[in-house]
Subunit: 215 residues, 2 copies
């Protein structure tokens, strides 16, 4: 079972939708159980055959063996401090790309002392298997079930079985492909592609993503 924490934001909702369309039964976690339920209901209207549930964060974690972190980076420390014990032994998928926006300058990466949001999560959760993935997938495209997704999901982790499982989840989503991005140290480079894509989106008025070619 999959839980999507921060699943009421666009990236989390989009991921829940696509994973549900791929046959999974994601639970959307929110600080507020009612908001989680509303998001689940909204998504069920976008694609009628999907099974998506809502819950508060800790209820979602309890039912899941794979837990996606899809909230903004600012929320990471408090959420993981709170849920750390419940996440023990589970696979934790960091979708987070730490970013800030400045007027006239666009998006830029926020420096993280651990290297990346995913490495910080792994440091905070030594008994979980952290995998970094899906940071570069366009929320707008994920959320539109009529759009063909294009692009690759670069998956980084120091836990090879967990990495393989998340690559297979990516492959399950129609037209997406999981690419082995090596160790969690590489998550930094993948997270920083997100502000680049956000800035390219503004130039081209598009929802861009990346593809690794030549492999």
């Amino acid at each position: 079972m999959l839980a999507i924490l921060g699943g009421t934001g666009p990236e989390g909702k989009g991921l829940a939708l696509r994973l549900a369309m791929a046959g999974e039964t994601p639970i959307i976690g929110s600080r507020d159980a009612a908001r989680g339920a509303v998001a689940a209901q909204e998504l069920s209207q976008l694609a009628p055959d999907v099974d998506i549930r809502g819950s508060d964060n800790s209820g979602a974690v309890l039912q899941a063996d794979v837990v996606f972190l899809a909230f903004p980076y600012e929320g990471q420390r408090p959420v993981l401090e709170d849920l750390g014990p419940a996440l023990k032994g589970k696979i934790v998928v960091s979708v987070i790309a730490p970013m800030k926006f400045e007027r006239g300058k666009g998006a830029s990466a926020v420096e993280v002392e651990a290297g990346s949001a995913a490495q910080e999560a792994q440091d905070m959760l030594p008994e979980s298997q952290v995998v970094a993935a899906f940071q570069n997938a366009s929320a707008e495209e994920l959320l539109d079930p009529t759009t063909t997704m294009d692009g690759d999901i670069v998956v980084c982790s120091d836990h090879s079985d967990a990495k393989k499982l998340v690559m297979e989840l990516a492959d399950q989503i129609k037209d997406l492909r999981g690419v082995d991005g090596g160790s969690l140290a590489n998550a930094k480079y993948v997270e920083q592609i997100t502000p680049l894509l956000v800035n390219i989106n503004r130039i081209y008025k598009a929802h861009s993503s990346i593809k690794i070619v030549g492999i």
Copy 2:
């Protein structure tokens, strides 16, 4: 006229070859004029119809209005201190991705105080127009004239005319495409894609590159 400084290394040689195949007449610059001439001759044997010349670095700069920096990052400060006055008013294309290799850990990005090698070059050359591009193109593919290049060249600069010219140079190379990557501040993210690709290459035993999809 184009000059490729550090043109005796694989990335520089590959770029010189592809630009020559696209109809340009690149001059390969080297600290040692004789080595530049040897590299030019080697490339002429790979693709008989190309016109590639060799020179020492300062001779190459003198003849060019667009100068590529294709040497390792470690060489940047001394080379630009030496050639700075000669580069005034010229377009300087930074191909540099600062990287280090550690046994068992693979490639990782070297932190640059200015943000990126390209931003450092612009700081050192306030009267040149620095453009960051071509860092992610595979040297092996550039150097094999029988290979179809695949992938995009993300081009970043704070000088829009210079950026446009370099995007057009990328478009001139068969099957490559220049993508507007916004301001020079974004060069950091593009430079850091290179160690990611190097690590992916090791996993897949491939010569990978990136494509921006959805634009």
